[in-house]
C-alpha cells in the first residue's frame, strides 16, 4: 500500500529566506506526486504535481519541488518565503488503478516577518 511521510509537524522560516518542506513516499510502481496547501477554514488548493519527465517541477505562487527517485522524496521548495505562505502543506501520492490519493499528515509552515 502507498504511504507518505512528512517528518516535520512545523517549519519556521524568516521572510525572504528559502524554505523547504520535506516529503518522502513509499509505493509499488511509479508514483504520481502532488503538493497541496490549506489556508484556515478553506479547502486544499493544488500547488504542483510530478507525473513523469523533468525531476524539477514548478508550480503556483513560486513553489517548486524536486522528485528524487533514489531517495523516494519530493520536497517542496521556494527561494524566498513570504508571510502569506504561512499555511498547512500536504504532500500526496497516487499510483495507477482504482487507488486513492493518499495524503501525508501535513506540515505547518510559519513565515515570520
Amino acid at each position: 500500500a502507498q504511504s507518505v511521510a512528512q517528518p516535520e509537524d512545523q517549519v519556521n522560516v524568516a521572510e525572504g529566506n528559502p524554505l523547504t518542506v520535506k516529503c518522502t513516499y513509499s509505493v509499488s510502481g511509479n508514483p504520481y506526486l502532488f503538493w497541496y496547501v490549506q489556508y484556515p477554514n478553506r479547502g486544499l488548493q493544488f500547488l504542483l504535481k510530478y507525473i513523469t519527465g523533468d525531476n524539477l517541477v514548478k508550480g503556483s505562487y513560486g513553489f517548486e519541488a524536486e522528485f528524487n527517485k533514489s531517495q523516494t522524496s519530493f520536497h517542496l521548495k521556494k527561494p524566498s518565503a513570504l508571510v502569506s505562505d504561512s499555511a498547512l502543506y500536504f504532500c500526496a501520492v497516487r499510483v495507477l488503478g482504482n487507488t486513492p490519493l493518499v495524503f501525508g499528515k501535513g506540515t505547518r509552515l510559519s513565515v515570520i516577518a
Partner: protein
Amino acid sequence: DTAVSQTPKYLVTQMGNDKSIKCEQNLGHDTMYWYKQDSKKFLKIMFSYNNKELIINETVPNRFSPKSPDKAHLNLHINSLELGDSAVYFCASSLQGNNQPQHFGDGTRLSIL
C-alpha cells in the same frame, strides 16, 4: 464562479440524527470524492465516484451513503450520527485519471453534540 461548492458550511446536530451534505461542481469534471479531515488535520478518502459510478469505498461505516444523481453532484447522507463523526468533510472533483489534480470545496464542519 465557485468551482466546488458544499452546503451547509456548518452543521451542528444531536447524536442519533440523520443529516445530508450536498456538493456540486461546475468544472465539467467526471470524478468526485468525499474526504474526512479529523481534528489533527489528517485527511482520508471516504468515497470516489466516476461518471456516477462508485469506484472507491474506503472502509467507511455503512451509516455513510453517498449518492451521485449526475456527474456534477455528489451528496453524502449520514444516518445515526455518532460523536466520532465530528470532523470537517471535504468534497473534491477532478478529470478522470490518477494523475489529475483534485479541486476541493471549502468543507462542511460537522459537530455532534
